[in-house]
Structures are given as C-alpha cells and as structure tokens.
C-alpha cells in the first residue's frame, strides 16, 4: 500500500485505482462486483459502502479475508436526507494490523437490515444498542430488546428528530 497511506482517495474509482490489492476490497469484489457501492480512503481510514441487503455476506467475506475482529458498530442519522441512516461497522484485522469501516445505508421508513450476529456473535449488544437508540431493526437477531433505555420507553433518543432536552 506504501505511499497511498498518506493521500486521500475519494470515490470508488479512485480507491480501486489507488489500493488495487487491498485484501478486503479484493475479496468483496470477488464475492459480488455489485455489492461495493462506494469507497473512500480518508485520513488513513478505508470506508467501504456495501449494499444494505448484502451486509451479512460482506461481513463474512471480509472475515474470511483476514479481518477477523468485530470492533464496533453504530449508526448515524442523516435526517432529513435520504437514505436516512448510515450504519458503520468497524472491523479490525489482527494479522494486517489495520481497520476497515463497512458502511450500509438504510431508509428512514421502517428501517431494517440483516443482523451480522451469525458472523460475529460479539455484534449482539451493539445491534441491540442501535435498535434501542435509533430504532433500526436487525433481521435474524435472536434477542432484539432494548438494552440501555427502559423496556417501556417510547421513541429512540439518538435520532435527530428527538430533542436533546425538554419535552418531546
């Protein structure tokens, strides 16, 4: 990867040209050339946007490609733009000593995405947290309950249309 570490590459074409032999990109393209929607290499971090319907396949692909450790996962609410939610998965490779970010975009109307707990059981609490605070449902999660807020809470506090203080 050498020199390309330092400069930013924005857009899928630039990343494919700048990082031609990156193991995660290579594996994702080999899995399904359509799955990779967008990519950027910004501030030393590689973000790969994959189709929301293929997140579980993408997760198991990068896992097989050496990105063995699920580190973190959360969502960003881009209200009122569409698609509304961006899910960011941070995956670490113990062998390459490198981290990648998988992103998936989900619509704001009844948001739902496949759970990656079959690939990494460690995503369990993280998906429950995103469900709790953003109201995104995870298909295939076996215990999708609120985790931080009380069980009978109404609303999802980390959404941008939920006020920081005062009455809802």
């Amino acid at each position: 990867m050498g020199d390309s570490k330092s400069k930013n590459l924005l857009g899928k074409a630039a990343v494919l040209e700048g990082l031609p032999e990156h193991p995660a990109i290579y594996a994702l393209l080999a899995m399904d050339p359509e799955a990779l929607l967008d990519a950027k290499f910004d501030r030393g971090e590689l973000s790969l946007t994959v189709a929301a319907g293929k997140i579980r396949a993408a997760a198991s692909t990068v896992q097989a490609a050496g990105y063995n450790f699920f580190e973190d996962m959360t969502a960003v609410d881009w209200f009122p733009s569409s698609p509304r939610f961006q899910l960011s998965y941070h995956i670490l490779s113990h062998s390459y000593k490198e981290r990648i970010r998988l992103c998936a975009l989900v619509d704001g109307d009844a948001p739902v995405i496949d759970s990656i707990t079959p690939v990494w059981p460690g995503a369990n609490y993280y998906e429950r947290e995103v469900f709790d605070l953003f109201g995104i449902r995870f298909e295939g999660h076996n215990n999708l309950r609120r985790i931080l807020m009380p069980e009978d809470w109404q609303g999802h506090p980390l959404r941008k249309d939920y006020p920081v203080e005062g009455y809802r």
């Binding site: 959360t74 960003v76 970010r101 609490y125 109201g135 009978d152």
Partner: protein
C-alpha cells in the same frame, strides 16, 4: 411508529421443560460484587448456573446525545465521566479523534506527556481492579494497600490538572497547561517505589491458596470465543490472543517506547490476574522511558483558532484575546468527515467514532468502550459453573458500569 417493546425479562431465562427444577435469581443491581449497578438475571439449577442475562442501562445518561449539542471542546469534560476510573485515557482518545479530523500536528512534549499520563491512568485503573477483585474474593487487606498507592496517583492528577478524578487535562491540540515544576520529580519518586508495591500485592495474593483456588480454572474463555465475542484488552490477551493497540497500531508516539505485551494461554481468571500484574510493571517501564526522554518544547499545537491561548498571551495580545473569545463563544469548525480512533485503555480497546458535518458541533460521537463487549462473554465464562464463581469472573473482567451504560 410502532414500537417493539422488549420481552418481559423474567419470561426469558427459564428453558422450556425446566420450569419446575430451575430457579430465576436476580443478582444485583445493588450487589456489592457488581461494581456499580449491574443486574444479572440468572437461571440456576441448584447452585449451577444454567443461563445468565446481564441487564444494563441503569447508569445510562445519554452522553452520546449530549455531545451532539456541545462544541467540540466542551465534549472533553463529558468524556471524563464515561470510564470514571481512567479519565486521561478518555480525554486522550477523544482528542486524538478530533485531531485526526482537523489534521493537527501535536508537539513531541505533549505526546510524551500523554503517553506518561495514559500509563499512569492504566496503573490507577488496574489498582482499583486488583483491590476490588481481591475484596470480592474475600481478601480484604489488598484493597487497603492498592488504595494507598492509588491515593498518590490521584494526588498527582490533582497536582497536574486540579482535579482528582475528572481531570479534563488532555485537550484537543495538546494539554491544558504546563505541568507544575515538581510534578515529574514526584512522579519519578512514585515510579521508583511502585514495583516494590506490586511485589507486596503479589506476596499477599499469588501464594495465597484460598485466592488461587477461587481463581484457577474458573471462567475459562477460549481464544476463539474471545475474538468472536469482541473481548479486548487483558481478558483477550489472557486467552492467548496477542494484540495490543499500543504496540500493533501505535498512536500518540507509542512507537518510541519499548515494552512487552504479556499474554497467557490459560484463559481463566488466574491468567487475567497474572496478565494485569505484569501490565502494571510494563506501564512503570513506559513511564520511566517517558520521564528519561521527555523532550523540550511547547505542550500545545500551533493552531490559534483551535487551541485556547495561554493566559498571559490572552491578557497582553489582541489577537490571542480574539481567538479566545471566538473559541469559547462559537467553537471552531471541524472539516466534514468521519474518523475512528482506537486506543488501549486499562480495560481494553477504547474507540471514538466522530462524525463531523463541517460545523462547530460534532454531528455524532460514538464511544466504543471495552467493558460493553466484554460483558457479553460473562455467560460463556460462567455457564455450568457454581454461583460463587460469577463473583470471581465479574471481578476478573474488570468492568466499569459507567462505560457500559454511557
């Protein structure tokens, strides 16, 4: 929209067909060995744990939501309150993330001071772990000794930042202020006697047959499970997975320091105990190297629009006063983008994911804290073991509920 409200908790644990033999027991939220307010819903068969559900959220204060309403520099004091046993590590991780967004260069002296303070924080965190862990097991004496040394660390924190626990000393762009004149000498004196104190703890515990019997072979976690369940830090290394962010993905100048990363292949609570004891000794080595090679120079980055000016400059220079006024009243804009910064805290992998939309307030701050993921592994460690082993396991993974609930 339609809400999915969770299943009632008490309907969850008992397995089908076992309702007349198994019992559901609530351990916590006010149990002394749960280190805060952790509630464990246990399904037990006699004294054997069949299933275990941690229930968390009792300390949830919505810090991530609050961050979105503050300027970037106002978030620093909020981070102190997340992992309240390792304030400097929180400050460091957040500051590094924002500095990455801004593209700031941090002067060498500030970097070395940060490493030194992060390691002091690790010792602080491990001392509390050791004291409370031993106390849970019934060895009350060690608690008094570890808190004796922790008191000295808190005094050092107070000397450098004015606060014992909520330090907010590491700021975006450097440090809050120059350390006091005698700080490094006091730290040197502490570092000189501290290895001896670790020997003391070790003498009290390592050869103690009661302590050893409560820990050896208890709470086994295989390396595969550790990776699958996203366990990080000392619990992961005690299971034989050799990865330490300080060594493998260095930040804040850690590449300039020589230290060993202790690992073990046993994977039980005893291994976690041994690994943390060695980690404290390694932290002492790093602090010694930082003290010996402390560079001269400024402690703040040269970025007047981001870093608050020194007090004297503010009172004598017009420009400094303007910058001070602007930073305090309207913050500073951060270029749009997203970064994730991971560091090795006392409990494991800490990470801040900061998303900026180009304004003076963070669009999203997500905090990845190690205890949150490690708690998932408690069921794996405790399944099929005695009820009393839970206390040893919870102590050995060193959880802080403030960082789980945020």
């Amino acid at each position: 929209m339609t809400e999915q409200i969770g299943l009632p908790i008490l309907e969850l644990p008992v397995a089908e067909g076992a309702r007349d033999q198994h019992m559901v027991l609530n351990m916590g939220p006010q149990h002394p060995s749960t280190h805060g307010v952790l509630r464990l819903v246990l399904e037990i068969d006699g004294e054997i744990v069949v299933r275990l559900y941690p229930e968390i959220g009792y300390l949830h204060t919505g810090i991530e939501k609050t961050c979105e309403a503050k300027f970037y520099h106002q978030v620093v004091p909020l981070t102190d309150r997340v992992d309240y046993l390792g304030p400097m590590a929180n400050n460091l991780c957040y500051s590094l993330a924002v500095e990455k967004l801004l593209g700031l260069e941090i002067p060498p002296k500030a970097q070395w001071m940060r490493v030194l303070l992060a390691e002091l924080t690790r010792i602080n965190s491990h001392l509390i772990w050791l004291g409370t862990h031993a106390m849970d097991i019934g060895a009350l004496t060690v608690f008094l000794y570890t808190f004796r040394e922790r008191e000295e660390i808190l005094r050092l924190f107070e000397a450098i930042s004015g606060q014992r626990m909520m330090t907010s000393y590491i700021r975006i762009g450097g440090l809050a202020m120059e350390p006091p004149i005698d700080f490094l000498d006091r730290l040197q004196a502490f570092i000189k006697i501290f290895p001896e104190k670790i020997d003391q703890y070790s003498n009290l515990l390592t050869g103690n047959p009661i302590f050893a019997n409560r820990l050896k072979g208890v709470g086994y976690l295989s390396p595969e499970d550790a990776v699958a369940l996203s366990v990080t830090g000392p619990p992961m290394r005690a299971s034989g997975v050799d990865f330490d962010t300080r060594r493998d993905m260095p930040y804040s100048g850690y590449e300039n320091f020589q230290f060993e990363v202790p690992t073990s292949t046993e994977g039980d609570t005893w291994a976690r105990y041994k690994v943390r004891l060695i980690e404290m000794r390694e932290s002492v080595k790093i602090i010694q190297q930082a003290l010996d090679g402390m560079p001269e120079g400024p402690i703040k980055a040269d970025a007047p629009k981001v870093v608050l000016p020194d007090r004297e400059k503010m009172k004598t220079q017009m420009e400094a006063l303007i910058h001070h006024f602007k930073i305090v009243t309207e913050g500073f804009a951060v270029p749009a983008g997203e970064v994730y910064q991971g560091i090795e805290s006392g409990h494991g992998q800490m990470g801040y994911y900061v998303v900026s939309d180009g304004t003076a307030k963070p669009y999203r701050v997500h905090m990845r804290y190690p205890s949150f993921a490690t708690l998932q592994a408690v069921e794996t460690m405790c399944k099929g073991r005695m009820l009393a082993d839970i206390v040893a396991v919870i102590g050995s993974i060193d959880i802080v509920l403030g960082e789980i609930d945020r």
